[in-house]
């Protein structure tokens, strides 16, 4: 550190403390000081106890520069301190983070070893779950064909003489039924009952024709799937 301040002070002190030559045996009386009179500013620098100080007092500019140098020196120390503190903080944070991570990794490895020992249970459970999911997927949208056939037959018998001789059931309960009735009135009644049935989503009369003694009909439509699911999912 370059700190010239003490030298300046020393110099000043040395200069101030220089005593004027004194003749032996003739003590110089101190200058008369009027009683109860305050010394003028700067007087104490010029007038030492036993002599005269020839060094002039610092000018304002010199005082400002000296203060600035003093501040700069303190600033250097503070800057160095900040540098050291920041370095310690960052390195410390890094080391602590790494240590914490390593510690957790060790703990995780221990856990992994423990869980791996009982992983066979997990494999068995997964195998059962896979089958359960397949069961749900496959049987979630299936219906009981018997209940569908019975239901349509029940409507046909309500209509009078209509009988169904062919059932075709496809995906999502799309159906085609063929049958015969004694007259058109029974066919139209059957059609009406099918159309107004709450479990019937859509129904259309595909064809109808007179075949001598009886009337043949073909209906196409779709049943409400959810109405026929519960009967098989047990």
């Amino acid at each position: 550190m370059n700190n010239p301040e003490p030298n300046v002070k020393n110099t000043q002190k040395t200069v101030v403390e220089q005593k004027p030559p004194v003749k032996v045996g003739q003590p110089t009386p101190p200058p008369p000081m009027p009683k109860n009179e305050a010394p003028r500013p700067g007087f104490e620098n010029i007038m030492a106890e036993k002599g005269v100080n020839l060094i002039p007092t610092l000018s304002k500019e010199e005082v400002v520069v000296a203060e600035k140098k003093k501040k700069l020196n303190v600033g250097s120390i503070v800057s160095l301190l900040i540098l050291v503190v920041i370095s310690i903080l960052i390195v410390g944070f890094n080391i602590v983070s790494r240590m914490a991570l390593n510690n957790e990794k060790t703990k995780l490895n221990t856990y992994e070893t423990q869980v791996t020992k009982i992983a066979q249970k997990m494999i068995a459970s997964n195998e059962i779950t896979e089958r359960i999911q397949l069961y749900n997927r496959v049987l979630s949208e299936t219906y009981s064909p018997k209940s569908v056939v019975d239901y349509i037959n029940a409507i046909a018998s309500k209509s009078g003489t209509s009988t169904v001789s062919t059932f075709s059931l496809g995906q999502d309960l799309l159906f085609t039924i063929e049958g015969k009735a004694t007259d058109m009135e029974n066919v139209s009644k059957f059609w009406y009952l099918l159309s107004n049935d709450p479990k019937m989503e859509t129904v259309t009369l595909q064809s109808v024709g007179n075949n001598g003694n009886y009337i043949r009909f073909i209906f196409k439509g779709k049943l409400v799937l959810k109405e026929f699911l519960s009967s098989i999912n047990n």
């Binding site: 220089q18 020196n73 920041i86």
Partner: protein, 238 residues
């Protein structure tokens, strides 16, 4: 005012003057006075860019990695607790039941033999039997792992309507296998009904012997109702 004595040594005066000029010189702000703060700032900047910033970045990575590991630990802890709560004996028994109902392999011959026997029990006579292995692609998924494997084939039988309906019903209710029926046709010829349908039985091939302990785990015990169905169906096979 004090008077300076004439006996003042000239040398001393010179020294005093030198001291004054020295002090004035020293009082001036020089480059040497600001060199340390400037150097410290430069070193700090260099260290910051090349050492501190990478170190902080690494420390942040450590922190995020630490968080991930803590999460994994929590996940493993939960998994361990769940697995420990499962009784080994019950688990093995449930697994055997599930494998009976949906086996690891389903032979076409044994499946068709079972269906044909059931039809004969219900008083139906077979008119067509054919079957083969199938691979069903699940909705919109095309990867190998998303296929459902099964045995399927068109079948045709003849008999009374009541027998045909009883047969259809028993395929679901009595069959120990998981079965679906598609394209069902029932057609009456005088008093004889011809039933034609497509039957599919499913199986799940042997899965990998190792499990990913970090994958999402759902314990099978959540589906107790279906486990019970498997148990009932498996007992029918014994």
């Amino acid at each position: 005012m004090p008077i300076i004595s004439s006996t003042v040594n000239a040398t001393k005066t010179k020294k005093e003057v030198d001291a004054i000029s020295e002090r004035v010189k020293k009082a001036k702000l020089k480059i040497a006075d600001v060199i340390i703060p400037i150097l410290v700032v430069i070193v700090l900047l260099i260290l910051g860019v090349f050492v501190f910033v990478p170190m902080i970045q690494k420390a942040i990575t450590f922190q995020s990695e630490h968080k991930v590991i803590v999460d994994k630990e929590a996940q493993l802890k939960t998994l361990e607790e769940t697995l420990n709560s499962m009784d080994e004996g019950i688990l093995q028994s449930d697994l055997i039941n599930a494998q009976k109902v949906i086996p690891n392999t389903l032979k076409v011959s044994s499946f068709m033999y079972y269906i044909d026997n059931l039809a004969m029990e219900k008083g139906l006579t077979s008119s067509e039997i054919s079957a083969g292995d199938i691979k069903i692609n699940t909705k919109g998924e095309t990867t190998e792992g998303n296929y459902i494997l099964g045995v399927s084939g068109p079948l045709a039988y003849e008999g009374s309507l009541n027998n045909a309906l009883a047969f259809l019903d028993s395929l679901y209710s009595v069959s120990p296998y998981i079965i679906t029926i598609e394209n069902l046709d029932l057609e009456a010829f005088n008093s004889v009904w011809k039933i034609s349908l497509s039957v599919t039985g499913y199986y799940v091939p042997v899965s990998a012997s190792s499990a990913d302990i970090y994958s999402a785990f759902t314990p099978y015990s959540k589906y107790t109702d279906i486990v019970k169905i498997f148990e009932t169906k498996a007992s029918q096979l014994d």
